[in-house]
């Protein structure tokens, strides 16, 4: 494969897309009384008015919905805006809440919605996969029960827009971390490392290390058009190059976790 980056050098585009990740405060609600929310939110924002003034905000309704407590998104948005905050996303909402949000021009962030029962699987590891330490992961607790591993929700602070798109090659020595999904429309060189809390898609050769679900999302997958990786990992379960069948080369594959073991399947 050869890319020709110079070909369009003489046209001068007046726009381009760049991918960026942002830290955004997330408002996690555990009660649905809008008056109380307003009161408590006001108290909080008054503690650091400069910080919160015109701050973007994502509100998270997952807890509420788990507790089967409904809330009117229009009303909630109104309260948030009244206090000088700018809602830019909803997370963990029901279908109806999401629709309400969209009507208000608020995008839906799908990250971290655990389906009940998914984490109940309790098979011991099959030996084919082992646990890799990833930079943002805490040291494994001495807790032996595997179910516990996943019960903890990712810590509430600062989550981001959902998808990071990279269009330039990721070179040896470079690292990329995406808080959501990561899409790479270029190659990942040997000696490079890409990490995502969500899924990873690579449209190009993967020769470096790819770690999906680095905060413990066992549902995360890696999709790749040409697997020549040094290491692949999902939620800490990894395989190194030696374990990888070189036959996966040049064929599109997906990689996912099944009973704590990595499965590599043709697409």
């Amino acid at each position: 494969m050869s890319t020709d980056s110079q070909q369009n050098a003489h046209q001068s585009p007046i726009l381009e897309f760049k991918s960026s990740t942002f830290s955004v405060p997330v408002l996690i609600l555990a009660g649905n009384d809008v008056m109380t929310i307003e009161q408590q939110l006001q108290e909080k924002t008054q503690q650091a008015p400069e910080f919160f003034k015109n701050s973007p905000l994502v509100f998270d309704l997952q807890e509420l919905n788990k507790l089967e407590l409904g809330i009117d998104v229009t009303e909630l948005t109104h309260v948030i805006r009244k206090l000088g905050l700018l809602p830019i996303g909803i997370r963990g909402g029901s279908a109806q809440q999401n629709r309400q949000a969209l009507d208000l021009g608020i995008p839906i962030h799908s990250g971290h919605i655990a389906r009940d029962g998914v984490y109940a699987a309790n098979q011991p590891g099959t030996g084919a996969a082992s646990t890799a330490a990833t930079p943002k992961q805490q040291a494994p607790e001495p807790e032996p029960e595997p179910e516990l591993e996943q019960v903890s929700e990712p810590e509430p602070p600062a989550v981001t827009v959902n998808t990071t798109i990279i269009t330039l090659p990721v070179r040896s020595g470079q690292r990329i971390y995406a808080a959501g999904d990561l899409i790479i429309v270029a190659q990942v060189s040997a000696g490079a490392e890409i990490m995502a809390e969500g899924n990873i898609h690579i449209y190009g050769p993967l020769r470096g290390r790819a770690l999906a679900g680095v905060q413990g999302n066992t549902e995360a997958r890696i999709f790749c058009t040409d697997l020549q990786a040094e290491l692949i990992s999902i939620a800490g379960n990894y395989k190194v190059s030696e374990d990888l069948n070189s036959a996966a080369h040049i064929r599109p594959v997906q990689i996912y976790l099944q009973n704590h073991a990595l499965v590599i399947k043709d697409i």
Partner: protein
């Protein structure tokens, strides 16, 4: 607008200085006022390749320290009056260069020159960093072997994240691949990576292939950039490279003795 070209690789001994001398001479011979700067402080050898080592009075570090003006330090080439050399210091260490100082000199050169070629030292430390930091174009010199290719890949990562253009979110540095010391026979024997292999690993625009050639040693012994040896294969390869860089469409050569592979490479330019 002046353009700053860095000739870099990560690895040493791959042909950066040979290339810097050749392309600076090539650009100057085509009428573009060109300066070539030796960033290899402590190990100067660009002036040897250019054959001006006996005319060095002041150097890069003197100018940075304000001990000499740029005009005092620049040496006009004996073969081409459009070409000037700014030699490195042999007596200082790498820390004598500062980003601010280098930036100032480049800004001054940009007023007067069309091309400024920066011959980078090996490695990814300070000297190499400063040589690439202000660049508009990068010539990545790679030999057809795995370790050289890997180092080049690493340097490409640094170019795309640590350069001034990257830091200021400007259009990225334009990157060109120069595959040097290429020997089709050894590729055939499986002792070296092929052009295709290297391009597949780096996925980079190939500006040219420079064959392994005795003419390079002869040229450096006589203090004449090899591009002046118009009969030599390496000299012609560099002339092609300069022409392609200036926008001409020239077929790739020196990849194989057989025509067969050529066609394959025409298409990808």
């Amino acid at each position: 607008m002046a353009r700053i070209i860095v000739v870099t690789s990560g690895k040493g001994g791959v042909g950066k200085t040979t290339t810097s001398a050749a392309i600076a001479m090539g650009l100057a011979k085509r009428g573009h006022k060109t300066a070539v700067i030796d960033f290899d402080v402590g190990l100067r050898n660009l002036d040897l390749i250019m054959g001006c080592e006996r005319r060095v009075v002041y150097d890069f570090v003197n100018v940075i320290n304000g001990e000499a003006t740029l005009n005092q330090a620049l040496i006009r080439d004996k073969n081409c009056n459009q070409l000037y050399i700014l030699p490195a210091s042999q007596t200082r260490d790498k820390d004598a260069l500062s980003q601010e100082g280098v930036g100032k000199i480049l800004d001054e050169l940009k007023k007067d020159f069309k091309y400024i070629v920066c011959d980078s030292p090996a490695g990814i430390e300070k000297g190499a960093h400063l040589a690439m930091y202000f660049a508009d174009d990068a010539f990545i010199v790679t030999n057809p072997e795995v370790s050289s290719v890997r180092d080049s890949d690493r340097m490409l990562g640094i170019l795309s994240s640590k350069s001034r253009r990257a830091e200021q979110n400007e259009e990225p540095i334009k990157e060109y691949l120069l595959l040097s010391r290429y020997s089709p026979d050894r590729v055939k024997l499986g002792e070296m990576l092929s052009v295709d292999d290297v391009q597949e690993i780096l996925s980079l625009h190939l500006l040219g292939v420079i064959p392994e050639s005795k003419s390079v040693l002869n040229a450096s012994n006589s203090g004449m950039p090899v591009i002046l040896d118009e009969k030599s294969d390496a000299g012609q390869a560099y002339a092609d490279i300069v022409a392609r860089y200036l926008g001409e469409n020239r077929p790739h050569r020196f990849i194989d003795d057989k025509q067969g592979l050529f066609g394959k490479l025409f298409g990808r330019k």
